[in-house]
């Protein structure tokens, strides 16, 4: 023990420093940081899409070269990781959405489970629509 300066009527408060690795101490905090990180995956796919549209606008050859490069193992690995993060982002967001959205039908409050299920339903409908647009002959 050391002997710091102490004044009776103005005691020193102890302010404890937060560790840089605070988010590793509890799964809920780690999950939160992963969810924040997943926004990088969103940015990755947005950038990917924009480049693809640009190549399509340039020429067919340019687009085919883009598709060729997209099959590179490094890019494919990045895509898979980004996709997993996107799914994680969507699932964790849908899990907390009922807390943020309070809807009423008439005077009755919509049950949180209904809000969560409606998110999943919208996800499925939009995914099916995109799949239909892309796969139809």
């Amino acid at each position: 023990m050391t002997q710091p300066t102490y004044t009776e009527h103005h005691p020193r408060w102890l302010r404890q420093r937060i560790s840089t690795y605070w988010w590793l101490g509890k799964w809920a905090y780690t999950k939160f940081i992963l969810r924040e990180l997943s926004s990088l995956s969103v940015a990755w796919f947005v950038g990917y899409l924009l480049v693809m549209v640009r190549r399509i606008g340039e020429s067919e050859a340019s687009y085919r070269a883009f598709l060729e490069r997209a099959t590179h193992p490094v890019l494919l690995t990045l895509d898979v990781i980004a996709f997993l993060f996107i799914v994680f982002h969507a699932l964790t967001w849908f899990a907390v959405a009922p807390q943020a959205i309070v809807a009423h039908v008439g005077k009755k409050r919509v049950a949180p489970a209904v809000i969560a299920v409606s998110h999943y339903a919208a996800w499925i409908v939009v995914s099916a629509l995109v799949a239909w647009l892309l796969l139809r002959r």
Binding site: Q3, F32, V102
Partner: protein, 245 residues
Amino acid sequence: MQVTRYRPEVETDTTVEEYEVPCPRDWVVLDGLNYVKDQLDGTLSYRWSCRMGVCGSCGMMVNGEPKLTCATFLADYAPGPVKVEPLRNFPVIRDLVVELGDFMRKLVAVKPWIVRSEEKSVSEGEYLQTPDELEEYKQYSMCINCMLCYAACPIYGLDPQFIGPAAIALAQRYNLDSRDEGSAERLAVLSQHEGIWGCTFVGECTQVCPKHVDPAGAIQRYKLTAAMDWAKSFVMPKGAGSRST
């Protein structure tokens, strides 16, 4: 029990002291601390009052989790040790006693009381409210200011300017009260960066709340309200309301 001690007159940092306490099935952590205080070491400092989960005084970290020590059973941690520390994210005054001034200032800033533009006279009678209107804010009125949510919130720990979960939940409690007319005044405080936008929805405040207030939900609802008001101000520059929903 492993109890964190901080004696500013002789120490520059915390130390941990171990005490052997009985562990009857009906003893809570606070009973263990009271046993230490009464039987083993009278110098131990901590706050408590009602011993029934109402006053919100006895919040501490128990095995790393923010808990009301009057509602946390020792037997759940048997055979121990039970680690008791002061609430995280607050300056420690002594042992398990933390400094509350910052929270109190923030609480006052959000005006957690009914604001009226014009008060009715007594002869006009009381402000009536239906059960449905009561139900709108009742959940948020359960807050006992125990500050467990602040101890669970990493944002508050990293940025002490953040107004924090309980103060925002209490602001929402009054915004949703049909008798209140102060939501615009509160929004002016809470729409700043250190208000609702400081929250990144970690959600732990809701998990640790002993009264199921759901401060995280309150903050996200408030964000939605603020965003809608902002959007309305473009569409209806003169007519945008600020009643929270």
